[in-house]
């Protein structure tokens, strides 16, 4: 089998816009699932509402496309009731961090055995480009026409602090690293959180001087800094640039977890 065998072909074509980064993240996730050797019948994909949350509809496993923000609460019920199932959650920054923020921190705290892949495009794409809790300060959206004034959430830091066993962040440019991170998350018992920064040329890029898809991918490539480099700079006492987004593995640990198959 290859990762392509996981797709529900009779549902194609998909709804994603030309140049969307979500497809890359879905491919990376399915590649990681494929590497795990899991059976289609034992795997469940769960999501909330938004562009990212349409992903399970294109995958041939059992899948639960739920209500806005609540995917983790639904997933908690599935996993606790049947720990034999492998449960993977697709979500986005609006779904997870705004309306679903409470469920996010509690799922991390419970350290329930799920793998969550968050496509963070820093915007509400499905509804046409409103500001999200992850829209960078100054960025233009339809609800921040003069630039976002609110500070953004750092989702990965939040997951680490709230108790997740595995946390990593990459981007849709870093395909191999992202795939490996998802696989590490799938392998780790307990709550695994993989944040994938993705380009949204339709709702974000075109309002923020990143009109071309390649501009956005270039932005994701050049505006990140490896956590190891931050560590080295800190040890040397060098100033850490605050305009770069840290990427890499933030935590891998073994706190007591719930819903792990015995």
């Amino acid at each position: 089998m290859s990762f392509e065998d996981w797709f529900r072909e009779d549902r194609l074509p998909h709804i994603y816009c030309t140049g969307c980064g979500n497809g890359t993240v879905i491919n990376c996730t399915l590649e990681a699932v494929e590497q795990m050797g899991w059976a289609v019948d034992d795997t469940v994909f769960i999501s909330g509402i938004g562009c990212s949350s349409r992903a399970p509809g294109y995958i041939k496993t059992d899948s639960l496309h739920t209500t806005h923000g609540r995917a983790l609460a639904f997933a908690t019920g599935v996993k606790l009731a049947n720990p034999r199932l492998h449960v993977v959650v697709f979500t986005g920054d609006g779904d997870l961090a705004a309306i679903g923020g409470n469920h996010f921190i509690h799922a991390c705290r419970r350290n329930i055995d799920l793998t969550v892949v968050c496509m963070n495009n820093m915007i509400y794409g499905m509804t046409g480009g409103q500001g999200s809790p992850c829209t960078p300060v100054g960025a233009i959206s339809t609800t921040t026409p003069y630039g976002a004034a609110e500070p953004a959430f750092d989702l990965s830091e939040l997951a680490v602090t709230a108790g997740a066993n595995y946390v990593a962040r990459w981007t849709s440019y870093h395909v191999r690293e992202l795939t490996k991170a998802v696989q590490a998350g799938l392998e780790t018992p307990g709550f695994s959180f993989i944040e994938a920064l993705t380009q949204c040329p339709t709702a974000y890029g075109r309002r923020n001087k990143l009109r071309q898809v390649s501009d956005m991918i270039q932005y994701l490539r050049t505006n990140v800094i490896m956590v190891q480099k931050i560590q080295r700079m800190r040890e040397r006492g060098e100033p850490i640039p605050d305009d770069k987004i840290p990427v890499g593995e933030f935590v891998r640990r073994n706190r007591p977890a719930m819903g792990v198959q015995k």
Partner: protein, 360 residues
């Protein structure tokens, strides 16, 4: 046994294996009892972060084939409304117990009420129909909670046990049967579409992990389960099926008690006011006074009103401002006297007797 304990025990007897809940007065004893009992019966108890998460976890658990329930009261019930609609749309069997208290808002946390009867019927957005049971004693709390699981599985709907603080906190002697009747959901046959209704409008259930590869979505979907949110015919057919699979069974599933069917004055009750009426009829037996006691309120079995062929007046005492009295009015040309009572106290037999003495 306390009413809330009987509710939990009835659920366990029916094979409930999953409880997701959040503490709220006056329902909390149900969660506490499940927290003690479920881990010892191969079940799962989880205290979620709020009622939205509680009903979500229950729906998730149900897709793995488990009989699943939650229990709450007014404010938590309000929070659950969106996901109750999701359970309706995705045809997820589950049981939601509402130990009603005085509302609106925080209202009277420790006092009984029946103020959520219309909310359970219409509270989530869009057109739909579900099933609501209403116990009037601790025995009925046990029996009807167990029955709720059968109805949920048979019709693949969220089923409400619409009890209240009065019954939830009443202690009475009850008879626990050796075993309760269990009718589980019909599994989806391989090769059939997961959202095509059978003869009764209910599709077979494609349990997760059994190789069905089912896609479950709250979006309007076709019979394959695939989103089809802009075709007017697909939406109309789906919603009509969701409503009619419940409404067309309303007389088949009706659960009631009829006393003095030849009477001219007929009490119609559900839940605690049933007790007041029974007391009136016990104290002063009168063949001119009839009683229709409904154990299932929704879908409303309107044909039962016509069992009282000599009826001249229906009297509907409720611990709200006349929520089900309106439904009775809708189905009869006879005068319907609504007897609302707010504040948490039950109608006294004396109050109801005064009403009878005043009749023409």
């Amino acid at each position: 046994m306390q009413g809330n304990t009987a509710c939990a025990e009835g659920a366990l007897a029916a094979g409930c294996r999953f409880f997701g809940g959040y503490p709220i007065t006056p329902s909390t004893e149900i969660a506490e009892h499940m927290a003690r009992r479920l881990p010892k019966t191969d079940g799962v108890f989880v205290q979620m972060e709020d009622e939205i998460a509680s009903i979500a976890a229950v729906i998730g658990a149900s897709w793995t084939g488990a009989r699943a329930m939650t229990a709450t009261s007014g404010p938590g019930f309000s929070l659950m409304m969106e996901n109750i609609g999701y359970a309706v749309m995705t045809e997820t069997p589950c049981v939601i117990v509402n130990i009603q208290r005085g509302g609106p808002s925080t209202g009277q946390p420790t006092m009984g009420a029946q103020g959520d009867m219309l909310q359970c019927r219409f509270g989530s957005h869009g057109d739909y129909s579900t099933i609501a049971l209403s116990p009037s004693s601790v025995q009925e709390m046990y029996d009807l909670t167990a029955k709720a699981f059968n109805l949920a599985d048979r019709f693949r709907v969220p089923v409400f046990v619409m009890s209240d603080e009065v019954i939830g906190h009443t202690r009475e002697r009850i008879t626990i049967p050796d075993r309760v009747e269990i009718v589980t959901r019909r599994p989806l046959e391989k090769g059939t579409l997961p959202f095509r209704g059978g003869d009764d409008g209910v599709p077979g259930f494609p349990e997760f992990g059994m190789g069905h590869g089912v896609h479950v979505t709250g979006l309007t979907h076709d019979e394959r389960g695939y989103p089809e949110a802009t075709d007017p015919h697909v939406h109309a057919a789906l919603v009509q099926r969701l409503v009619s699979k419940v409404e067309s069974a309303r007389h088949d599933i009706a659960d009631y008690e009829v006393v003095n069917p030849d009477a001219e004055t007929v009490f119609v009750t559900y839940g605690p006011p049933t007790r007041s009426v029974k007391q009136v009829m016990h104290d002063q037996p009168d063949e001119g006074v009839g009683h229709l006691h409904l154990r299932i309120v929704w879908p409303f079995p309107e044909r039962l009103l016509r069992l009282f062929t000599n009826a001249k007046t229906f009297i509907v005492p409720e611990m709200n401002m006349g929520q089900v009295a309106r439904e009775v009015e809708r189905h009869t040309d006879l005068p319907v006297i609504s007897v609302p009572k707010l504040g948490g106290e039950l109608h006294t037999p004396g109050e109801l007797r005064t009403l009878l003495e005043a009749r023409p």
